[in-house]
């Protein structure tokens, strides 16, 4: 071996969160200097509330992207889950807890079907979830008959309630989202299951030859992601206070954006779920900050486009320098 100096202890994977985090902090600094209302507790609480639904979707999306897949249906599945829970609770009079369970089960069921199609028939995840996007969208509108479901029982909106931290109101939903991120950071980083997910995404044949039951693992990942979308549905319902058949239509791209901004590779096997949290926050901070600065919508779109590229470019260039 050639001369090799002691290297710093390195992370499990080679895409640290440092880059995206720097981009996030820069953005915060910029908006903090430019608008008075940005650096306040309530505003941060707001940003978290605003990103919690897409953020939670992006957890499931991260799982799937780590296996070198992609999920275009997550938003549609969430919308369907939301309609199922609210309609069952309100129109069919099911006990709220059962209704929520049914909604979660439906979302997990979509994940299961996706997983089976990907593993059993070797269909590309892109195609499977593209098809499912249409299916879930259509089912949402057929089942809801285009009606928004209102007058929800308290259990379904509980996560929208707040508690006080210092001067700031925090919703239970924000807390749940953060906890979910920590849970999945733990599962991916500190359990055998997580290692297997990375190995599978890295090279499925190597994983299989290493004695990992890759098909079963993959089906599990899709199902779990579906379940997480179910939680996102509950978060959405409790945030908006209604069951909305129009929900989630841009959330597939938004969640993928969060994942990629967070430094996870679309080719699988590399990335961290906490990076995804940072990625989701970047998007939320931009939207909130630009709005507070009074930038017109269409210019917000323009700036967001440029900034998405810039954020990843800064990350990329800084990484190149340390190499």
């Amino acid at each position: 071996m050639a001369v090799m100096e002691a290297s710093l202890p390195r992370r499990l994977v080679s895409t640290p969160v440092a880059g995206p985090l720097a981009a996030l902090l820069l953005a915060c600094l910029f908006f903090g200097l430019n608008t008075g209302q940005f650096f306040t507790g309530p505003n941060f609480s707001l940003i978290i509330q605003q990103v919690m639904v897409v953020g939670t979707l992006a957890i499931g999306q991260t799982l799937i992207i780590l296996t070198a897949g992609i999920d275009l249906a997550c938003g549609a599945v969430m919308a369907f889950g939301g309609i199922v829970m609210t309609k069952l609770a309100v129109d069919s009079g099911l006990p709220p807890l059962l209704a929520v369970a049914a909604g979660l089960a439906v979302c997990a069921g979509f994940g299961l079907v996706n997983g089976l199609l990907v593993t059993r028939i070797s269909l590309p995840p892109f195609i499977v979830t593209l098809g499912m996007l249409n299916v879930a969208f259509a089912l949402t509108h057929i089942y809801s008959a285009e009606q928004t479901v209102t007058d929800l029982p308290a259990l379904l909106t509980f996560l929208g309630q707040t508690f006080q931290v210092g001067q700031t109101n925090v919703t239970y939903g924000s807390l749940l989202t953060i906890l979910l991120f920590l849970l999945f950071a733990y599962l991916l980083g500190s359990t055998a299951w997580g290692r297997h997910v990375y190995a599978l995404g890295n090279n499925p044949e190597v994983a299989r030859l290493s004695g990992i039951r890759t098909s079963r693992l993959l089906v599990g990942v899709y199902t779990l992601a579906g379940l997480v979308y179910g939680v996102a549905a509950l978060l959405l319902v409790s945030r908006t206070g209604v069951g909305d058949p129009q929900a989630g239509q841009t959330d597939n791209l938004d969640s993928i954006t969060a994942v990629v901004l967070g430094g996870t590779s679309l080719f699988g096997g590399r990335g961290l779920v906490l990076g995804t949290l940072v990625g989701a926050l970047i998007v939320g901070v931009f939207r909130n900050g630009l709005q507070l600065m009074g930038v017109a919508s269409i210019y917000q779109t323009l700036i967001t486009g440029v900034l998405v590229i810039l954020a990843v470019a800064v990350d990329q260039l800084s990484r190149r320098r340390t190499r």
Binding site: L12, T191, A192, R195, H196, L209
Partner: protein
Amino acid sequence: MTTPVLQARGLVKRYGHVTALDGADFDLMPGEVLAVIGDNGAGKTSLIKALTGALQPDAGEIRLDGEAVRLRDPLDARRHGIETVYQDLAIAASLDIATNMFLGRELRKPGVLGKVFRMLDKRRMREESARHMAELKIGLRSLTQPVESLSGGQRQGVAVARAVAWATRVVVMDEPTAALGVKESGQVLDLIRQVRDRGTPVVLISHNMPHVFEIADRVHVQRLGRRVAELSPRDHSMAEVVAIMTGALQVSEGKAVVADQGAAKAIGLS
């Protein structure tokens, strides 16, 4: 007669128009080092993939200690104590060495943390990996370095160390020294001897005849998807074995006879 530890009869595997295995037999005796040799494309890798659950043969039977088994996937083979170093496909490039070492058999922390929270014991895995790597005398600065930053030889070393560390019944190695330096190759051969000496039989695929003659107790010659000979390196010269492998000589009733005059001449055996 002793029962073979691992045995196969009439294995067939077709890929479209290509027949990789064409009724191959295989016998591994307890405590021996069996070399499998053959030309490129002779079906050596296919044979051992079938024996280790990595591919499902179209026909044929596999027996472990005389009992017919079905190995549905590599995990099945592992559970039967068979460990394999696959050609090209040994390790996950973006994961670190310790993770690769324990992939599929991770250690959990003792107590509640491990049982309930299923937390990995990263420190212990790192330490044990270091121990295994040291045994093989593979020098590495850091076990948390992703495998993709290692040289080809270092990578192969990781794969070999893993198989040796875990095998309880059979170790199978598909060209383990192909990418290794002289020193590292020597260490792998030493290791194979150690494994045999502790009673575990080893299957070694190699194109390196000196290595084969140095270490093998018996040689399985694979040709055109079949076993064409089983012989002892003590009874045959290297040139003879190579001739059998390339089809210039044929073995009939334990004796080599010239089969292909042209081929025999080409390798200087007339």
